[in-house]
Symmetry: C2
Subunit: 158 residues, 2 copies
């Protein structure tokens, strides 16, 4: 299960790998919350949505994009709150949570660390054998996070 950790738009993507190495997208979407919703309720909505997704898809592990903020600490705290819901869901459901940098996700998607959005989308479409590209950037980042972790597993397996 790949996740793009955002407070207002949390992308998610469930990716399977068949024994022959073929990747398949089982489901994807965005957990959206309204800007006017108070933070505690926003986090409760995210937590419930994550619990529902984990119950529905039974993922083996969670892979998230690790965000860095150059100078906006307030944003970092808000994203940290949302990211905390993902880590908590992983701990509560006994799922390993791993994270990768945005550059690592781009390389997983299309082989280039400095790719633009179109290249990333095209790469994800190709790797997942999709009829059309995932144009929602949050969902695309979530799918790239899942793909990146499969690459890690493959590398670890030698």
């Amino acid at each position: 299960m790949g996740i793009d950790p955002g407070s207002r738009n949390m992308g998610w993507a469930i990716v399977d790998r068949a024994p022959d190495g073929t990747m398949r997208l089982r489901g994807s979407g965005v957990i959206k919350t309204r800007p006017k919703t108070p933070q505690p309720q926003t986090l409760l909505i995210i937590t419930h949505a994550l619990d529902d997704l984990i119950a529905r898809y039974c993922p083996d592990e969670i892979s998230i994009e690790d965000l860095f903020f150059s100078n906006n600490a307030r944003s970092a705290m808000i994203v940290g709150q949302a990211r905390g819901m993902i880590l908590l869901a992983g701990a509560q459901h006994g799922l390993n949570v791993v994270s990768y940098t945005p550059q690592q996700l781009k390389i997983a998607a299309c082989g280039k660390g400095r790719a633009d959005k179109q290249e990333v989308q095209a790469g994800i479409q190709q790797r997942l054998g999709l009829p059309s590209a995932i144009t929602n950037e949050h969902t695309a980042d979530a799918a790239a996070a899942a793909l990146r972790h499969f690459d890690q597993l493959a590398a670890d397996a030698g």
Copy 2:
């Protein structure tokens, strides 16, 4: 229930106000987690501890110190994760969560926004009628957060 939101040392303090306005400290402490504990498990420990405290003391509201970080976004994200556990606990238990700035806490504790630690500790000791000062800074900040919210309630009541 006042809380000092930290990832490694989360201070808490339960403050009651008697009908005559007297403040009383019913309990206080620090939720400590180890630096080596992975983030998901740390957040699970914090969540369980908060659930236990809420079940034990049945607070009416939660008041937390609102932290701002000038330039350390990484720290802000980590604290945001811990802060998210507090907001989530509030939402799950139907408790209002309010936050105040460090300066507001100092004013509540001792009447001065630029007070040093000793002044803050002495002020809290006096307001809560304690035999000795709360020397743990996390617990003291939590107590100050609770006192600040009582001041707000008093001001709102006219």
